[in-house]
């Protein structure tokens, strides 16, 4: 603040009318009736992500070329971005504000790039030491278990993972084909997680067979159960056990294990989920003509939309509103499957319309192999006696994965039924946080801020319309020739270009507009933030309108 010059007599005046001081004695802040203040919101993409990834923040860090920091930010919410970046159904993009301007940001492609960079820079992951004495058992080495183990180990808890198979990965390894998630990527992700802290892995240890839940409860300070769904649901059609009919998951397991498969020339896949799509696409790669038969229509298919499109692109045919009715097979040669035509009736408990038989209309398909992929269910035998169940699933309370036993937590498909990788990852992390709080007595966290914005809050004058940058892919003939990963990922230039499209909704990204346009020079530009100088801010609120991303809010003075 400057000084005000007052002349007591004309003798003190300069010989001509000349200024002697600036105007900062004049505190124009007193003119203000509304006050602007920095008020960062939660970007909608973050609210759309089941794992609450701070997407805005890691994209911002990318635009600053701070790759390691971006990776750290991402790993705070999700320990396997290289996996989710490839296989997630990306609900974040549905919420992306840019969707209402031109096209949503390609968030999974960015996530994948950051994750892969973390794998390529092993030095970024510094192993956490065991700083706590309480040990935790994690049962199941799939996405939920790996996530829980990671976040416990990072907090210093010694963790033992019990995995039924010979290797970790669970459904990521056996349920997702290599053209979507290569085994070597998964191996590196698993190795990074296992190497991130005090984690011991016991493979070939199946719950119920080799490991007893009640015993684990006694031996460990806490137990997390994330064993997923292990049983394929049966069709309930006579003749489904026998030659020519295979469970889709079994087929995928053989394919992913590198076993040669020969489903024959003509293949039918019954089901409409991701497993059905993966089975169909693997059968295409084995040289078959594939028809997916689904009892409802395209609109009700639970598979990720991208996967359906990819399958169509690869020549998979679809028949909707049909369900297998009977199977006829001779001693050898193709099977004859009779399908009942269906129509959509009233909505069921999932909100989708229930398929009901459409009179007597049927058709037959002659196939060498028919795969069933109509869903999986949990095997409740290993935990059913100890834990309260909801059908075959473990009953959990709230979002933290608490079960009917105080020391046992559960998450992932075994608690929710068939869901997604990212939801399993989120459940694992939340259970880990809850376990850590239980063991250390930390207080419950404050409720998450959820104030967000929409396209109306964006000053679109500062953005140019463009298109989402698609991830490059290998040609179709090469894709069908084997199990090579279809999408090759962004290079640095593409990553930067897509990251630059982000609006950074509701969060300052230092665009300088508030500082530049302030007519009163009342915004201070500091090292890592801006600050209003309320001594001089007249409250014109130009900054509020010119902030492209609504990171400034207002409040009436005196209220």
């Amino acid at each position: 603040m400057g000084e005000k010059i007052t002349f007591k007599s004309y003798k003190e005046m300069p010989i001509c009318a000349m200024s002697g001081a600036d105007m900062t004695y004049n505190l124009t802040g007193s003119w203000r009736n509304v006050r602007p203040y920095y008020d960062f919101k939660v970007s909608p993409c973050r609210l759309g992500c089941p794992a609450m990834e701070n997407i805005q923040r890691y994209i911002f860090l990318l635009t600053q070329e701070k790759y390691e920091e971006a990776w750290r930010e991402l790993m705070e919410a999700n320990p396997m971005p290289s996996v989710t970046g490839r296989v997630c159904f990306h609900p974040c993009m549905e919420k992306c504000t840019r969707k209402d301007f031109d096209q949503a940001i390609n968030i999974p492609a960015i996530e994948r790039s950051i994750g892969d960079r973390g794998l390529d820079n092993p030095g970024w992951m510094k192993k956490a030491p065991a700083t706590k004495k309480e040990t935790v058992a994690v049962v199941g080495g799939g996405p939920a278990g790996l996530s829980a183990a990671y976040y416990l180990a990072r907090r210093g808890y010694p963790v033992t993972i019990f995995e039924a198979d010979a290797v970790l990965g669970g459904t990521l390894r056996w349920g997702i084909p290599e053209y979507r998630l290569p085994n070597d990527v998964l191996d590196r992700v698993v190795a990074q997680i296992v190497g991130s802290g005090p984690i011991t892995v016991k493979t070939g240890a199946a719950l119920g067979r080799d490991v007893d839940l009640a015993k684990l409860e006694k031996e460990f300070a806490a137990v997390f159960v994330g064993v997923g769904l292990s049983r394929s649901r049966p069709l309930g059609v006579a003749g489904e056990e026998g030659r020519g009919i295979e469970r889709g998951l079994d087929f995928l397991r053989r394919v992913n294990g590198g076993e040669p498969v020969n489903p024959g020339r003509s293949v039918a896949v019954v089901g409409g989920g991701n497993t059905a799509m993966d089975v169909a696409r693997c059968a295409r790669r084995a040289g078959a003509e594939v028809t997916v038969v689904y009892r409802r229509t395209m609109n009700e298919m639970p598979a990720i939309k991208d996967e359906i499109e990819e399958a169509e692109h690869e020549g998979v045919r679809f028949r909707f509103l049909a369900a297998p009715k009977s199977i006829e097979r001779g001693a050898s040669g193709p099977l004859t499957v009779v399908f009942q035509q269906m129509k959509l009736g009233d909505p069921d408990e999932s909100g989708r319309r229930r398929p009901v038989p459409d009179g007597d209309a049927t058709f037959t398909l002659s196939v060498n192999t028919m795969f069933t992929a109509i869903g999986e269910e949990a095997d409740a035998a290993p935990f059913g006696k100890l834990l309260e169940c909801d059908g075959n699933l473990i009953a959990t309370k709230g979002e933290w994965g608490e079960t009917s036993r105080k020391k046992i937590f559960a998450g992932g498909d075994v608690a929710t039924g068939a869901a997604s990788v990212v939801e399993a990852v989120a459940a694992g992390r939340k259970a880990a946080e809850r376990i850590s709080r239980m063991l250390s007595g930390e207080p419950e966290p404050a409720a998450e801020e959820t104030g967000t914005i929409s396209i109306e809050n964006i000053n679109t004058a500062y953005f140019t319309k463009g298109k989402r940058l698609l991830v490059p892919r290998i040609p179709l003939d090469e894709a069908l020739a084997g199990y090579r990963e279809i999408h090759t990922g962004y290079d640095d230039r593409m990553l930067r270009r897509e990251a630059d499209r982000c609006f950074s909704c509701g969060v300052c990204n230092f665009c300088d507009n508030c500082w530049v346009f302030c007519p009163d020079v009342a915004v201070r530009r500091l090292e890592a933030e801006y600050e209003f100088d309320y001594d001089f801010c007249k409250g014109c609120l130009v900054c509020v309108i010119e902030c492209p991303r609504c990171a400034i809010s207002t409040r009436e003075e005196g209220k």
């Binding site: 400057g2 200024s19 600053q64 230092f510 007519p519 020079v521 530009r525 007249k538 014109c540 609120l541």
Partner: protein, 302 residues
């Protein structure tokens, strides 16, 4: 934080006397950031002679010579001559006048200085009326606007004077329009002007929330819409008036939106608005024809 796109040093201080959301202060701040501390200003009567502050205070860190309404260009010419006599060739002299002091009252001094090709920058910050004295119309006030001297049904019926054409007819080396909504462009143009010898005329669009009956927070937004609705095109005239360049790389917006956000146009009927929009389109086409015919406009070599 990244390096700023516009210079960090501030030659304008807080505490000045401009209204909330004043475009003229933004214009001054950007211009001085571009020209740097070796700048001397000549101010005729205009908003800025008040904004700057009362004697003996000033909100600018460069010297200012206050002068009479009609005398900006001639005073600047004299100041430059005086500096040259003292051997100072580095200081740039800028006359900083409002639209009244440029389009109306100061035009003969400006025309004289331009004809002599005095080595000065003349900047007109245009808020489209005599705002400081109580919002009287000037020859820069656009057609359709309310002012205190064009009230009610007597809204201004004559179009805005084509000042850029008048200046181009003087065959001076550099003429440009700029807007406070595009600070990078504005700063680039002032920097360019600083490097050129001779009379340089800059015309900066500077919204006046008070005189336009406009919410102060919309001031920059209006300046931007003035450009995108072609009400105030961004033009550069170089090569002694021969080469015209019109900036076209923007998403066009309707003139109606621009007008309806401001109280000074709100009395206009649909038909009247259409006439206003037609006039604006005609002017735009005229500018494009100037741009296309650039090579054939005769100019004097100096």
């Amino acid at each position: 934080m990244n390096a700023p796109k516009i210079p960090l040093p501030e030659l304008m201080t807080s505490g000045h006397l401009a209204c909330q959301g004043c475009g003229a202060t933004q214009a001054m701040r950007f211009a001085l950031k571009a020209l740097g501390p070796r700048t001397a200003l000549v101010l005729p009567a205009c908003c800025w002679s008040v904004i700057d502050g009362p004697f003996p205070h000033s909100s600018l860190k460069v010297p200012i010579l206050h002068t009479a309404f009609e005398a900006a260009a001639s005073t600047a010419s004299g100041l430059k001559a005086g500096l040259e006599m003292r051997g100072d060739t580095e200081t740039v002299v800028m006359a900083w006048a409002g639209d009244g002091g440029t389009f109306d009252i100061g035009i003969q001094a400006l025309s004289g200085a331009a004809e002599r090709n005095e080595d000065i920058i003349y900047c007109c910050y245009d808020n489209e009326a005599y705002m400081n004295t109580g919002i009287q119309r000037s020859s820069s006030t656009p057609i359709g606007a309310w002012t205190t001297t064009t009230p009610g049904v007597h809204w201004k019926k004559r179009p805005k004077k084509k000042m850029i054409d008048i200046m181009a007819a003087h065959s001076i080396p550099y003429i440009a329009t700029a807007s406070v909504a595009y600070p990078n462009d504005l700063i680039e143009k002032f920097r360019k002007a600083r490097e050129i010898k001779g009379t340089r005329f800059l015309h900066v669009f500077a919204p006046c929330p008070t005189g336009w009956k406009l919410a102060p927070e919309l001031s920059v937004s209006m300046a931007r819409q003035a450009v995108t609705s072609k009400v105030f095109p961004l033009v550069e005239v170089t090569d002694n008036g021969r080469t015209w360049k019109v900036w076209k790389d923007f998403e066009p917006t309707p003139v109606k939106d621009y007008c309806m956000a401001q109280g000074r146009f709100r009395h206009l009927s649909e038909d009247e608005l259409r006439l206003v929009a037609e006039g604006i389109e005609e002017n735009w086409q005229y500018l494009l024809s100037r741009e296309a015919g650039s090579a054939f406009v005769p100019g004097l070599q100096h």
